[in-house]
């Protein structure tokens, strides 16, 4: 799974570069508009190590932001699963707030919190939180009638059990949503860094843009792509392992 993610990214990246080079040579453009392969390699030689560290810096905020989002989404999703007044209110709130482009709030966050770690974390969390919340709410609010009926009828149903049943039955969906939200969290962090932070790969891309250096941007995109592919691959692998464990309890067989 991990390697599939990486080579899929490499194929897309190479196709993109080939497309750019085709335009460059077809239109006879200079290295200033679209860098040639030699310049891209030279820039990679100079910048790649630094950019990898920048992406790791960004990733550390992404992971933390995503963890906060997952925790919050499950917390609110579990509370909002009921068809009570409070549950309906949370659902309506979540649907309405997620419709608002959170990135537009970034300047306010930077003015209030400055351009440090907290702003990046908050924007990353906010950007991946709402899509996660909607999925978790959807899953948690949909009863698995066949199974739940038994526990309700025997009077053994508790909220913890209800949540477990619904999570277990939708494990594939949850794993996919969590792995997908990694991209959103990463995008949120990069946007935050691009707007105002003084660290991370978004900040490095901003500097490259100031200097109209497309070669640097291409190298930065390569670093981001490789690392996010590895991260998503790891998330998917962990998800697979969890599924295997859940489906094969101690001493039992795989269902």
């Amino acid at each position: 799974m991990l390697f599939r993610r990486i080579y899929q990214f490499l194929i897309v990246y190479c196709l993109g570069v080939v497309g750019l080079l085709t335009v460059k040579y077809a239109a006879g453009l200079s290295n200033y508009v679209i860098p040639g392969l030699a310049l891209i390699f030279d820039t990679a030689h100079r910048m790649l190590a630094g950019y990898f560290l920048d992406v790791l810096n960004t990733l550390s905020v992404t992971v933390l932001g995503q963890m906060i989002s997952i925790f919050m989404a499950f917390f609110v999703g579990i509370i909002g699963r009921k068809s009570s007044w409070a549950g309906s209110f949370i659902k309506v709130m979540a649907y309405n707030i997620q419709a608002y482009p959170i990135v537009a709030l970034a300047p306010i966050i930077f003015i209030l919190l400055g351009d440090g770690f907290l702003s990046r974390l908050l924007i990353a969390s906010m950007i991946c939180y709402f899509p996660l919340l909607l999925s978790v709410l959807g899953i948690m609010a949909s009863p698995i009638k066949d199974i739940e009926h038994f526990y309700i009828a025997t009077g053994r149903m508790r909220w913890q059990l209800e949540v477990k049943i619904r999570a277990f039955e939708n494990l594939n969906k949850l794993t996919t949503v969590i792995a997908g939200s990694a991209t959103l969290a990463m995008a949120g962090t990069i946007v935050a860094e691009f707007i105002a932070a003084d660290q991370g790969i978004g900040y490095s891309i901003r500097i490259a843009l100031y200097q109209s250096d497309l070669a640097r941007i291409l190298v930065a995109l390569f670093s981001i792509g490789i690392i996010i592919s590895v991260y998503q691959g790891i998330l998917e692998t962990v998800g697979e392992q969890m599924k295997t464990k859940w489906f094969a309890p101690k001493g039992g067989d795989l269902i």
Partner: protein
């Protein structure tokens, strides 16, 4: 079967149209067409002459049909020249030098700013910066990767200071760190942001001063009018007519006698700025474009260009000299 062939034909035709559109977009316009002039930044008082050239009929009187287009953060006039989206543009000296390093075919027709508007603002209650050594111990804002970082590094090196002697902070889009007194010395464009900040602090009873690198021998060239070498070679008459009209418009724009007319034209393009601020901005722009009566607008300061190139090499903004003077084709300052 017939339907499949039809769909196939439609797809092929679509692709052909797309290719034709792409290639027509990268074909430079010739004389007789609308000429596109890409500015470096948004419409404001800093581009008074460019606005007047358009709305004041200077281009029209020269028999030119020119579309003056706003610039912005993602816009780059030199790239647009090469892609054929623009025929003329405004670019900073560092953009020109970087482009030359990477093989772009660009020439400089005129240097609009004789004095770089990029300066630093600080409060008057702070010790005055009388010499470069007075920068020691200050908390200075710079835009990492921007011109101001290069200029400040040069100033510090000139003063024999290192980054340990000052505190450098990254500058972002808003002035909050300066307004909250977290940063002492803040980079601004003297004639636009500088005026706004000065006005805002005056309202709070605070006075400000400006620190101009040119006063300490660092003349980093700012905005200039550029075109492609091909345009220069193939349509020299169009280039000449364009430049004559543009520079006449700038002469008109910075003449205090025309202030009300000029401000009225700017107001049409820049509706978001208050009238009194626009007036102050125009007043601050004049000495940057025409420092004295004897200076001809657009004159290229070759020494300043050479210094800019040297600074960029020293600061490793470019790997090797590019002989920028060979690309300065406009009227030059007599030394």
């Amino acid at each position: 079967m017939n339907q499949k062939i039809k769909i196939d034909t439609v797809i092929r035709a679509g692709l052909m149209v797309l290719c034709m559109m792409l290639f027509s977009a990268v074909t430079p316009a010739v004389a007789g067409d609308t000429l596109n002039y890409r500015l470096k930044w948004l419409f404001n008082t800093s581009v008074a002459g460019d606005i007047i050239a358009d709305t004041g009929g200077f281009f029209k009187n020269a028999g030119l049909d020119v579309s003056v287009n706003e610039g912005g953060a993602g816009k780059n006039a030199i790239k647009e020249l090469e892609l054929g989206y623009a025929n003329f543009g405004v670019a900073s000296a560092d953009q020109v030098i970087r482009a030359l390093e990477k093989g772009a075919d660009v020439v400089v027709l005129a240097q609009l700013f004789q004095v770089n508007p990029m300066q630093w603002i600080y409060r008057s209650d702070q010790p005055e910066i009388k010499g470069l050594s007075d920068l020691k111990g200050r908390h200075i804002g710079v835009t990492f990767g921007g011109n101001d970082e290069t200029i400040m590094n040069t100033l510090l090196a000139k003063a024999g200071l290192t980054s340990k002697d000052v505190r450098i902070s990254s500058v972002r889009f808003d002035f909050t760190p300066f307004l909250k007194k977290e940063v002492d010395v803040w980079p601004v464009y003297r004639n636009s942001q500088g005026v706004i900040l000065e006005d805002r602090l005056a309202a709070e009873g605070e006075q400000v001063k400006f620190f101009n690198p040119a006063d300490y021998g660092v003349s980093f060239v700012a905005n200039s009018v550029v075109t492609s070498g091909t345009m220069m070679k193939k349509h020299p008459e169009t280039v000449k007519a364009f430049m004559t009209a543009l520079l006449s418009a700038w002469e008109f724009a910075v003449n205090p006698a025309n202030e009300s007319q000029v401000l009225a034209q700017i107001k049409k393009k820049d509706k978001g700025t208050k009238d009194d601020i626009r007036q102050k901005q125009l007043k601050a722009t004049r000495p940057l474009i025409k420092p004295d009566k004897g200076t001809k607008i657009g004159t290229i300061d070759v020494r300043a260009w050479q210094q800019t190139e040297r600074i960029m090499v020293k600061e490793q903004q470019i790997m090797a000299p590019v002989d920028v003077t060979s690309r300065l084709v406009g009227p030059k300052k007599q030394s």
